[in-house]
């Protein structure tokens, strides 16, 4: 799908800056810039991103490789800091938080799903989920989390004994075990075939629907983008377009 077609289908509005008073906004990025210095070379990855991520919705950040979407996700999740600009989670400025505060923020609010799962190879599925649930006071029961992703029958399996899709589902269970308010998914289907990928996406959409978790998915796959309530298109470090996806489809309707 071309960007022109997407533009036509999105409601594009300018994002407001500063602390969000709008309770529907979970995360607000205000003129976020990020550059990396490697030797004498400075690479500007994000060049002033303004973006609102609405609470309880699935937001898909779409962009080609090298567009800055992973960096954007890392900063929303508090594992990286902007060079300039601010990021608010509710009314908390996470860009001004200390390392310890950021860790605490990730601990209680954020669930991460990585492209390559990042499961601990020496732990079973159940234990991988427990690694996360041990961190919070009122977690989901680890087995319940596995049941959510239909992996409860593989609770005693080690990652090496699972397929890629199964590992990704365990990694989703690990993320949701903490009952996060914000689930950040970095190319969750990037390493999977279409069928397995769709099963994983279905899990994420169900999770959003049933637990009301705010989900951010970053992808280069335009088909995947069609699942989002909102779509933000990122290119060369800036948001090219952002808006409501009026032609949202179900997982069964997408293909790649």
């Amino acid at each position: 799908m071309s960007s022109g077609v997407l533009m036509a289908t999105f409601d594009i509005g300018r994002e407001s800056k500063g602390i969000s008073n709008d309770k529907s906004v979970a995360v607000r990025l205000a003129e976020v810039q990020k550059s990396y210095v490697c030797g004498e070379v400075e690479t500007r990855v994000l060049q002033g991103v303004d973006l609102d991520i609405e609470r309880g919705l699935v937001t898909v950040v779409l962009g080609p490789s090298g567009s800055g979407k992973t960096t954007l996700l890392n900063m929303i999740g508090g594992i990286d800091r902007p060079t300039r600009g601010q990021i608010f989670y509710g009314n908390r400025d996470i860009s001004a938080m200390s390392d310890a505060q950021l860790t605490d923020f990730r601990r209680h609010e954020v669930g991460f799903v990585f492209q390559f799962y990042n499961l601990v190879p020496t732990l079973t599925s159940l234990e991988n989920v427990r690694v996360a649930t041990e961190l919070v006071k009122d977690p989901m029961d680890p087995l319940e989390a596995l049941r959510w992703v239909q992996m409860d029958d593989r609770a005693g399996y080690f990652p090496a004994q699972l397929s890629g899709g199964q590992q990704q589902r365990v990694s989703i269970a690990r993320a949701l075990g903490k009952k996060p308010t914000l689930l950040l998914c970095d190319e969750p289907t990037g390493a999977l075939d279409a069928e397995t990928g769709k099963a994983v996406l279905k899990t994420l959409i169900d999770l959003n629907k049933q637990l009301d978790t705010t989900v951010v998915i970053i992808t280069h796959n335009e088909s995947v983008a069609r699942l989002g309530h909102r779509i933000a298109r990122l290119g060369s470090g800036v948001i090219r377009s952002s808006g409501v996806n009026r032609k949202r489809v179900g997982v069964d309707e997408i293909n790649w």
């Binding site: 690479t43 990042n118 234990e127």
Partner: protein, 783 residues
């Protein structure tokens, strides 16, 4: 990680080069000095024998050369100006030895250090030992007073010298040289004949043996002594029992053994760590190797690259180790220089040793590398280009005990999984921690044993302040006289009988000391520090002697006195006494010994307890200095002081060096293990950080792993430490003293505590790295 391997390797080589270098320095200097002085193979002391008779014995089979001479202990009535802080009235003794009037090479010769040999200007010229001269400010031209032949005589110092047989010259009853109160004085033979009234006679025969008897000169010595028996043989001393030779042998033997044991421990740990490192490195380079293979780089070139890497690591450790060892050998040789006055005891560079050090270091590094990279070499290019498959996961053995496993808690389950899954790394951790704690334990044990040895001897056994050994036996009424001396509060007499103890083929020079009933100034104790009753029948035998002769309580052995009626006596072992010093002295009751030798109401030495009054003490000292009856004087307090200064402080510094080395083993291996673990689990730990684990929580997991492995290893190392300490004690024991192994409970605790401290120190570095870990790099989620 590499720095830690290089450090461990360097310390291993450093120990090897340092200890073996000191050994070679000492051995070389000893051999050269002994050869230069023509150190003899045996000594026979006599009452009096005609010179001509000794000359005839020179033709006996096995005898290479014989020399007859006159040797007497003497009190020094005046000896220059003592150094500041030394009581000028403190009795000073000397061993007076005759030398030819005209310079010629003789057995047990001297090496002049200052001044000249005897001249023909005066009869009463003397050459004095170098350190004695230095301690008393004496130089050629000085005059000293000696009690010779019962008279106070003046001798003129013409030179200072050193000699092989007086290398380790200790005051009577002491175990360390003390030149402030004891030295050697060489006088002209003719003068000695005059003052001791021994014209044409001698009281000491020294001899060297033909090469066939060098290993054991006893048979030749015995033949010579037996032929002189009618002249009253007092003692026979083969070179192996001569104080200077024996002390040097013990030291050199100990160095040789330790020079083998300690470096072996370090090099073993270094080789193991290096091995794991190389396996890890080859794993990391797997895809690079695969790509190189795929583009056609021959396997042997890739292999050579890794071997070169191991070679560089080994060489680096070896070169640093050689440098460290050279410095260490310099320090240790310097320490020995203060014990033994050799002319050429200097630190040499030993190229052969450096070569061995480099070979050992590079050899262990290359072997580790070979083992590590051989796996990669076997892979095809295609296989190697793919990342290493994930570790095979499975349950560990502890999980079989379900109830136990569940009770552990999640944190400990994670820790135990990692410990059990990385078996090789954990095993190396155990070996390293065990080695480290064994070294710490042995070092601490050595220190406490030395302290205990001094305390045991001076708090339990020897309770007198002074001991006087007399030229001739005196009636025991002299004890009452001694008690009346101003400055003396108590006195006890002892009858001492030198001789040879034998049991089966084993024999030993020994002394039986007869103590007064209810003696309070000499109190034998057993190993459990319990006071032993002086037996009225039989003897209390020192532990070391009982072990050497193979005797137990209740056994009988043969004792042949070297003076008086020299008939053999069958003597009963009534008990075993523990003793750190004077390990050749047996105790019995005065009455029993008097009966045995048929010499009643006589004593040969007197123990005295002094009063604290300074003036009275000085008066007593003056009286001793001028006495013609006193052969030797021992100041017990001074002996204790000297031991603390010389032995314990110097050996104490060795303790710190050993603990320092152990720290390197701990820190080196823990850091290596932890850094490898951090690298291997980088992605996993970064995931934990992303999940919301604080660095201290991740650190706590790693800390639990490190502390678990290292504390178990340290605990397992303690029995090894006991063995090491016992080995050390055996190694440094001789007839002069024996290190009584004494390990207070605190040592066990201290060893584990030090292991804990080293572990925590290493962990601090690991924690700093966790805090600095770049999560984005580790996860590979950087744009």
């Amino acid at each position: 990680m590499l720095a830690a391997v290089v450090a461990i390797s360097a310390i291993g080589v450093g120990c090897l080069v340092g200890m073996m270098g000191t050994y070679l320095n000492l051995d070389r200097a000893r051999d050269a000095f002994f050869a230069r002085c023509q150190m003899t193979d045996f000594w026979v002391s006599l009452k009096q024998a005609p010179e001509a008779e000794v000359t005839r014995l020179g033709k006996l089979s096995g005898v290479s050369r014989l020399r007859e001479r006159i040797v007497f202990p003497a009190m020094v009535s005046s000896a220059g100006e003592p150094k500041r802080g030394i009581d000028p009235d403190r009795p000073v003794g000397a061993l007076v030895i005759s030398m030819p009037d005209v310079r010629r090479a003789v057995l047990d010769d001297i090496t002049l250090r200052q001044g000249s040999y005897f001249t023909d200007r005066r009869d009463n010229e003397a050459i004095i030992s170098e350190r004695f001269a230095a301690a008393h400010g004496l130089v050629p031209g000085s005059v000293i007073g000696l009690i010779l032949g019962g008279q106070n005589r003046t001798v003129h110092v013409v030179g200072t010298a050193i000699s092989a047989e007086t290398t380790y010259l200790t005051p009577p009853g002491a175990v360390a040289p003390d030149p402030e109160i004891y030295g050697a004085v060489w006088i002209k033979r003719t003068y000695a004949e005059d003052v001791f009234d021994l014209h044409g006679a001698c009281n000491s025969v020294v001899g060297s043996v033909t090469p066939g008897f060098k290993a054991d000169p006893r048979p030749v010595m015995d033949t010579v002594a037996d032929r002189l028996a009618s002249y009253g043989v007092l003692s026979r001393t083969p070179i192996g029992e001569q104080l200077s030779a024996m002390t040097l042998d013990t030291e050199i033997g100990g160095l040789r053994t330790m020079g083998g044991v300690l470096p072996s421990i370090f090099l073993l740990v270094a080789a193991l760590v290096l091995n794991v490192l190389m396996v890890r490195m080859s794993d990391q380079q797997r895809t690079v190797i695969g790509t190189l293979k795929a583009i056609g780089v021959p396997g042997r070139h890739i292999f050579a690259h890794f071997i070169a890497y191991g070679l560089v690591v080994g060489l680096l450790g070896g070169v640093l180790g050689c440098a460290l060892g050279y410095v260490l050998a310099g320090g240790m040789t310097g320490m020995y220089r203060s014990f033994f006055n050799f002319p050429n005891l200097i630190n040499h560079a030993h190229p052969a040793l450096f070569t061995i050090g480099l070979l050992v270091s590079t050899g262990s590094a290359v072997l580790g590398t070979l083992y590590g990279v051989r796996r990669v070499r076997l892979l095809t290019a295609g296989e190697a280009m793919r990342p290493k498959p994930p570790e095979s996961a499975g349950r560990i053995v502890l999980e079989r005990w379900g109830a136990f496993w569940k009770r552990l808690g999640f944190g400990w389950q994670l820790v135990l999984r990692n410990v059990f899954r990385n078996r090789v790394r954990s095993a190396i951790g155990l070996v390293a921690a065990g080695s480290g704690s064994a070294i710490v334990f042995a070092a601490l044990g050595m220190r406490s044993s030395l302290h205990h040895m001094v305390d045991f001897q001076f708090n339990n056994v020897v309770k007198s302040n002074y001991e006087l050994v007399l030229h001739d036996p005196v009636e025991d009424s002299a004890i009452d006289e001694a008690r009346r001396i101003s400055g003396i509060s108590d006195a006890e007499g002892r009858l001492e009988l030198e001789g040879e103890a034998s049991f089966g083929p084993a024999r030993k020079q020994a002394v039986i000391s007869g103590l007064a009933p209810g003696s309070v100034l000499t109190v034998p104790h057993d190993a459990g520090e319990q006071r032993l009753r002086i037996p009225s029948f039989g003897v209390l035998m020192p532990k070391r002697m009982s072990e050497q002769l193979g005797l137990r309580v209740g056994d009988r052995f043969v004792f042949r006195p070297s003076r008086g009626e020299q008939r053999e006596h069958s003597v009963f072992v009534a008990g075993i006494a523990d003793s750190a010093f004077g390990t050749q002295t047996m105790y019995t009751s005065l009455d029993f010994l008097s009966e045995l030798v048929g010499q009643h109401n006589a004593v040969t030495s007197i123990q005295l307890r002094g009063t604290p009054d300074r003036q009275q003490r000085r008066a007593f000292f003056r009286r001793v200095r001028e006495s013609s009856e006193v052969a030797t004087f021992s100041d017990i307090g001074r002996q204790k002081e000297q031991l603390n200064e010389e032995l314990i402080q110097k050996l104490g510094s060795v303790t710190y060096v050993m603990i320092g080395f152990a720290a390197v083993i701990f820190l080196g291996t823990i850091l290596n293990g932890a850094l490898m673990s951090l690298k291997d689990r980088r992605r996993e730990l970064a995931t934990f950080r992303v999940l919301g684990y604080q660095p201290r929580e991740i650190g706590s997991m790693l800390f639990r792993e490190i502390i678990l492995v290292n504390m178990i290893g340290a605990a397992l190392g303690l029995p090894l430490g006991v063995a090491l300490l016992n080995g050390l004690s055996d190694q440094i024991a001789n007839d002069l003293f024996r290190m009584m192994v004494h390990v207070p409970r605190i040592n066990w605790v201290m060893s584990l505590m030090l292991a804990f401290v080293f572990t925590v120190l290493a962990y601090r570095v690991v924690y700093a790295l966790i805090k600095r870990m770049n999560v984005l790099d580790a996860l590979g989620v950087k744009e």
